[in-house]
Amino acid sequence: MTTPPQTTVGAIRDGSWQRYLTFSLSTWVTIGLLIVVTALNVALQPTFFTTYSLTSNFATFAPLVFAAVAQAVVVIGGGLDLSIGSIVALASVVALTVMDGEPSRVAIGVLAAIVTGVIAGAINGFIVGVIRLQPLIATFATNSVFAGAALVVLPKPGGMVPSTMTTGYRSLVIGIPVSVLIVVLAIVLYWLLSRTRLMRHIRAVGGDRSAAFASLVPVVRVQMASYIVAGAFAGLAALAILANTGSGDPFVGSSMALDSIAAVVLGGIALAGGRGSGIGAVAGAIILAMVSTVLSFMGVPTTWRQLASGVIIVAAIALSVVMSRKDQR
């Protein structure tokens, strides 16, 4: 690239094409990590770019991708959502129950998942924004509430997802796997969101609450909205999980809250809030998912794989954090 990464966006005239190639240092780290894991994946698994392999890889990535975007919105707003995983579980069992295996009810199911996510997000937003509890502990508490509610809706794993959803998820549209398009959809949705006034407000609140308040940003409402948007994305993650697994599971997504936070950090989003982009979180989620694929193709014994991926993730997180601090200077 001709543009040095340190150049600030403001130094390049608006409308210049170089604007689109100018990233912060931490974004370069994310891009670099993504390239490295993809290259390793391609080297170890020559069939990586076949449509079959792309379909199945992206089909597994997609739920975490949406959860990571959800987490990104909340984290950029200066919050944290430990309940993402159980919102995904709750939305998925609600949608499953509503659809009841009927292909004709897929649209209602999609709506049900998103509405469930929005309601759960509104509860989180109310508790964090209006009641003003610490986000970490508040969403830990709502996490049990949503997880319990998921168990009420569907006491044990089972049920059938309409076949149109599962086959559609693994089909091709003009030669492109649907699962790839769904990940692209996550990126497009975030890109659209980032152009709204709401997302600018979320970023302002995450950066400095008092300054945002002084600048007439409705801080409490914005904070609530960030959790609601996250809930909606969690609803989409739930649909991706249903389409991928074909049945319901009230315990699904138990590791998703922490995975989504790891993805957000790998994507160069500061946990302090105010900085980063949901698109980075998408990259972070893909990096996270591909590390384990790479390790399995490298022939690392199963019992050592978790340790290896743990060490790699800690190293990547350290790199990402240290680099994003250099941005601040």
Binding site: T142, L151, G310, V322
Partner: protein
């Protein structure tokens, strides 16, 4: 009850100070839970029943010692790896003891050393690389899980030493098992160390204002590292005692203890931002959480409603005093 705590004629302001003290509220809630339990199912408040619940609470309480110190040390301090570290401690202890009292001491020392190393890595990453504690300890959770998996090869072996099991299960003086005495000694010792020793004061100094602490000659980094070492060491200790309770180990023995330790600390009135609080509150917080779980299971509530209720109670409890300041003050 309150008259006993304030022998001097209390003014209205003093009454208010006592009644709004988180430790008082938490203790009152603990007593209330026992009373409600006695009403709902007679025998719940019986001496032996309460002693049994305190015994179960001691595992959570001892694991939460380190969490208290870490949260007190400020800088968004939190240790998300306590659960996994406790599990690893129990796994290593079970392997070494293998059902024999002669290896009891070694079986306690080695896991504690392992814990110290894990805490050291956490502390170094947080103090020197300045990785946010949440992310660093979350990443370490993956690494510790990997170590446990690689060490056991997927199947945990070994048994607790009979002396350890006796300490936890046999009732001694006043029909109280030894582990409860161990906990009481630790409550006194930790409270005393935090309040009356230089090391304890340094933790409060670092927690309330790092810059001021640094300018006053308090070695901030060393204190932060020590806090995380303490956290992992107490986590391992808690894990070993839990091993005495279960006698054999499994790969996720203490994993679910992580967030309850944080909840116990916050219920006990320690500020999440650090510098204010103490261990006595945490110990009572551990009692509240354990009493609540037992009450809900005695009431024959299905698991789903049990999780929902415990989440809601946690929210209500925190809503009473865990609220953050308003923007407009």
């Amino acid at each position: 009850m309150t008259a006993m705590q304030s022998p001097a004629a209390p003014t209205a302001a003093r009454w208010r100070a006592i009644v709004t003290d988180p430790i008082f509220i938490a203790a009152a809630v603990a007593v209330a839970i026992v009373l409600v339990g006695q009403l709902v199912s007679p025998g719940f408040g019986a001496y032996s029943q309460v002693v049994g619940m305190v015994r179960v609470a001691s595992f959570l309480g001892i694991m939460a010692i380190g969490q208290t110190i870490v949260i007190l040390s400020g800088g968004d301090g939190i240790d998300l790896s306590v659960g996994k570290t406790a599990t690893l401690g129990a796994i290593v202890a079970a392997r070494i003891m293998d059902g024999s009292d002669s290896r009891l001491l070694l079986g306690i020392l080695v896991p504690v050393l392992v814990g110290a190393v894990i805490g050291l890595v956490n502390g170094l990453g947080i103090a020197y690389l300045r990785i946010p504690p949440f992310v660093m300890t979350l990443g370490m959770t993956g690494v510790v899980a990997g170590i446990a998996l690689a060490y056991t090869g997927g199947a945990a072996a070994g048994r607790s030493a009979p002396a350890l099991t006796g300490l936890v299960n046999n009732r001694g003086l006043f029909d109280v098992p030894g582990v409860v005495y161990v906990w009481i000694v630790l409550i006194v010792a930790v409270t005393w160390l935090l309040r009356r020793s230089v090391a304890g004061w340094n933790i409060y100094a670092v927690g309330s204002n790092r810059v001021a602490a640094n300018l006053s000659g308090v070695p901030v980094r060393r204190n932060v590292i020590m806090a995380y070492v303490a956290s992992s060491v107490f986590a391992c200790l808690g894990g070993i005692l839990l091993l005495g309770y279960t006698e054999s180990v499994f790969l996720n023995l203490a994993d679910s203890y992580t967030l309850p330790t944080v909840a116990a600390v916050i219920i006990g009135g320690t500020l999440a931002s650090g510098g204010v609080g103490g261990y006595l509150g945490t110990a009572i917080g551990a009692l509240v959480l354990t009493f609540l779980t037992s009450l809900l299971s005695t009431m024959n509530m299905p698991e789903s409603w049990r999780t929902i209720t415990s989440g809601v109670v946690l929210l209500v409890l925190l809503g009473m005093y865990g609220r953050q300041r308003k923007l407009r003050t």
